[in-house]
Every structure is written in structure tokens, then in C-alpha cells.
Symmetry: C2
């Protein structure tokens, strides 16, 4: 396995919610010490890069803010590159709003919008749904979703992901987003590969979900490493491979074991 | 056209929102004077029969409360007949809650529920979606939707219907309701035909929507009359017939013309 750069999923690889995963930080340091480049990719649609950066610092991870490819930020970058500065109505939370404004986009009421940006919102309400509905019904509006995640496993049980809004709009209007930024989409992966600045045959993604991380790696044409420190474990691994129809190139118990393997050959 | 009983859609036939449609009340009185039985059917998922009854009284319609087959009430009746008194978690508004309780059902938190009843709610929020999601993920929970309406034409533009919640749950879980009560479902139509107490070949539905009212009439095996006083007009009539694939037996301008035709042959 000749790898010069890794794209690390965060939830289930580095941490679970706010808690770091045992040995993951040690694994990260081993990788860095061996000269392997590392960036982080997350489908999170509610947090800004700045918030995630602060959390990483508390874990003892010395990444730069630019190494954090959060779907909120990646969405702002995508729209800026496709269109330039845009007038945006978003369903999303302050973390997404902050990222959109940081890239120079203007947050406006739905009547003035050119873009509808759908991100999850724990403060979702009927008025937000009504505005998003009216924009989705308008073919002249570009519709971008931060990620396609359907359900998120919270501590006390499943909670809705961004798919809550995507699904509601699809059912009411027949329309799907024009672009989805988060994994398994290539959009966020291309930004991560670009940040690494390496040939893609020397890059791998490390993640805990076959239908998200492994599929994203396949879509981007890089190597794929599944770790069993998140939602996938030995008991459901084969079943998920069959469901999704893609197989990871390598399987390790956790990031520490990935680091052991990669650094032993350096 | 030999008709002894009519099932009248409300919105687009009798009224638009809170305003009666011109000549509709006169048409209703002509029908009653000629001895034609009339009941009313509405997919409304937020109002109780009592509220609709008060509105009808203000229009000068002297129907009995039992003649109003509102989807909220029809849902409570359906569950009582299928299951008996049930422990229900509902996404719905007080109008739906009132109807469920009137039939002896118990409204409970989602952890205690046997039934998930989905009705539209202008106070919808993330917590309600989370509870509905967890119930929809549980195969032991019976899931009933008050109506399948996707979008509702409000005065200032389209707003989400009950389909907002049905679509979100379907997208997140892959699950559709076990039963949908409102038109074009047969469930509400059977309750209306039962109230009329007539053979179905002497009964017709009068409505303004081909995919809702005319389809409901076909599903129930009764005659179908389209009126052009609501969302369907002469310019879009043929297009909608082709889209839905069903054709009304008769087309009239409004309820008044229906009444003229039916009472002239009496």
C-alpha cells in the first residue's frame, strides 16, 4: 500500500460526537510524523470549519483550518466556483450560514434568492419548509444540498439528517437537488484531493461507512480503507458490502492500525 | 343522470378558504329542496368536524355534523373500526387531536404509541419529525396518514400539505403509510357512502380536482362530476385528464349548474 496522503472521515474514525476515539489521535500523530499528508472530510451540514477546528484543537490535533473539508464550507466553495458570489436562501443553521457568508455569498429572503441551499436544521419549521418549497418549484432557482444523509445516529436514537428536507421537497415537487456536495459525491472529494495536492493513486480515504466513505472513494478514483471503529463492525460488514455493491480495498480495526501499517513500510 | 345522493368536495366546490363560492349555497339549497341527499367530504387534516360545522353554519348551510366527512374525523373512525381504541402519537394539530380523542383514542408520547397518525402541522418542528421517524422505523407501529396531499394552494402561494411529512419519512426510512384515509383513498369515500345510505349507482361525487375527487369517485365505484369552480378550469382540464388517466362522467361550471341539471329532471 503506497500512500502519501489520507482523507480521513471524522465521525467514527477520529471521534464519536464530541469524544475522541481511543488511539485515533495517536494514530494521527504517527501518520504525521511519518510525513503522510492528512486532510479531514465531514458531511456535517450544521457546523462551520471554525467550530470543528476548535474541537480538533481540544483533541490535540494540530491540523490547519484549511485541512478541514466540512460539507458546509465545501458547499460555499462549490457555489463560488460555479457561479461566483450568489444570493442564497438557506434552510440551514448558523454554522452553514457562516460558511456561506465567509465566501462572500449573500443570505437573502427567498423572494430575492438565486440559490436554494439545503442543510439540516434543528430549528426547522413550517415557514422554512414553505420558502424552500416555493424555491424548489421554481426552475430558475439552483438547488444545492450540503449532504444526502438520511438519518443520523444520535446518542438517544436516530434523528433526521439533511435528507429530511431533501425527501420532503422531492415528494412535494418531484425535484431532487441540482448538486449534492457531501460524500459520496465527488464534489467534496475533489476539494479534499486538491488540498492534498497529490496524485490520486497515492491517496486513500479512511472511513467507517461503506455507502458513504468507501463509495465516495470509489467515485473519486482513490483507494479505500474501511475502519471498524464506527457504524460498521465485523458482524454487519459483509451485509453492507452486498447492499451497497462496493468493497473497500483494505479493512482495519481503527485508525491506529491503519497508521501502524502505513508507517511500518515508510 | 339519475342521482339520489351527492358527495360534495368542500374546497373549490362550496368555498375557497373561508369564503363561500358564488351561487354554491344556492345550488346546495336547490338540491336539498329536490330531496337529493348531500354529504360533504374534505381532506382537511388540521380541522375538526366541529370547526367545519361552525363555518358551514356561517355560510347558511344547514347540514348536520354527521354529514361532514372530514379526513381528521374519518381517520379516527378508521382506527376505531380496525383496532378499537388506540394509543396514538400524532404529528397533527389540535383539530386532528380533538377528533382522535372524541372517538376514545388516547394521545400519548411516541414511546407509548401503537399508532403513528400523520397529519399536517403548521407548528411542525425537529422534535416532532424525530419522534415520527423513530416510530416509522419500528415495524410494529401502525402508520396512518390523514391524507396524501402534497402541496396546498394558499392565498399567497403554495404551502406544504401532509405530504411534507409523508415524503420526509419515506425518504428517510423507505416506509409509506400502512393506510391513507383522505381522497383519493376508498377509506373516506366508504364512510361518505355509508352516511348517504344509498346504492352506489345512485351516488356521485362533485369535486374540482381530477387526481383527487374524480379519482376517488372511480376508486369507490360511483359517478363522478367535475366542476370548474376550483383548481381545474377549461384551459387545463384536458391536460389533467391525460396526466391522471381518468375522465369525469360529467363536467359543469359549478355546483349551481349541477343542481340545475339534477333538479330539472326531478
Amino acid at each position: 500500500m503506497e500512500i502519501d496522503g489520507l482523507i480521513l472521515d471524522i465521525d467514527g474514525v477520529i471521534s464519536r460526537g464530541r469524544k475522541p476515539i481511543e488511539r485515533a489521535i495517536e494514530g494521527y500523530r504517527m501518520l504525521k510524523d511519518a510525513g503522510i499528508k492528512v486532510v479531514f472530510v465531514s458531511n456535517n451540514s450544521t457546523r462551520s470549519r471554525r467550530i470543528m477546528f476548535e474541537r480538533f484543537a481540544s483533541f490535540g490535533i494540530d491540523a490547519e483550518e484549511e485541512d478541514l473539508i466540512i460539507a458546509t464550507h465545501a458547499t460555499a466553495v462549490y457555489i463560488a466556483r460555479e457561479h461566483g458570489k450568489a444570493r442564497i436562501y438557506t434552510t440551514g443553521e448558523p454554522g452553514l450560514q457562516e460558511e456561506l457568508q465567509n465566501l462572500g455569498h449573500e443570505l437573502v429572503d427567498y423572494r430575492e434568492a438565486e440559490f436554494l441551499v439545503v442543510g439540516s436544521n434543528r430549528g426547522i419549521n413550517f415557514e422554512i419548509f414553505t420558502k424552500a418549497l416555493r424555491l424548489a418549484l421554481n426552475e430558475n432557482i439552483r438547488y444545492v444540498a450540503v449532504n444526502p444523509d438520511k438519518v443520523f445516529p444520535a446518542e438517544d436514537g436516530p434523528i433526521p439528517g439533511t435528507g429530511l428536507i431533501i425527501g420532503a421537497l422531492y415528494w412535494m415537487t418531484g425535484r431532487m437537488p441540482d448538486a449534492i456536495v457531501g460524500k459520496p459525491s465527488k464534489i467534496i472529494m475533489e476539494q479534499a484531493i486538491e488540498r492534498l495536492g497529490l496524485d490520486r493513486d497515492r491517496v486513500a480515504i479512511v472511513g467507517d461507512q461503506i455507502d458513504v466513505d468507501v463509495l465516495a472513494g470509489k467515485n473519486a478514483g482513490i483507494k479505500t480503507i474501511l475502519v471498524l471503529s464506527g457504524v460498521t463492525d465485523e458482524s454487519n460488514y459483509r451485509k453492507k458490502v452486498e447492499e451497497v455493491g462496493v468493497e473497500p480495498d483494505y479493512v482495519f480495526r481503527d485508525l491506529y492500525e491503519v497508521a501502524q501499517r502505513l508507517t511500518s513500510s515508510k
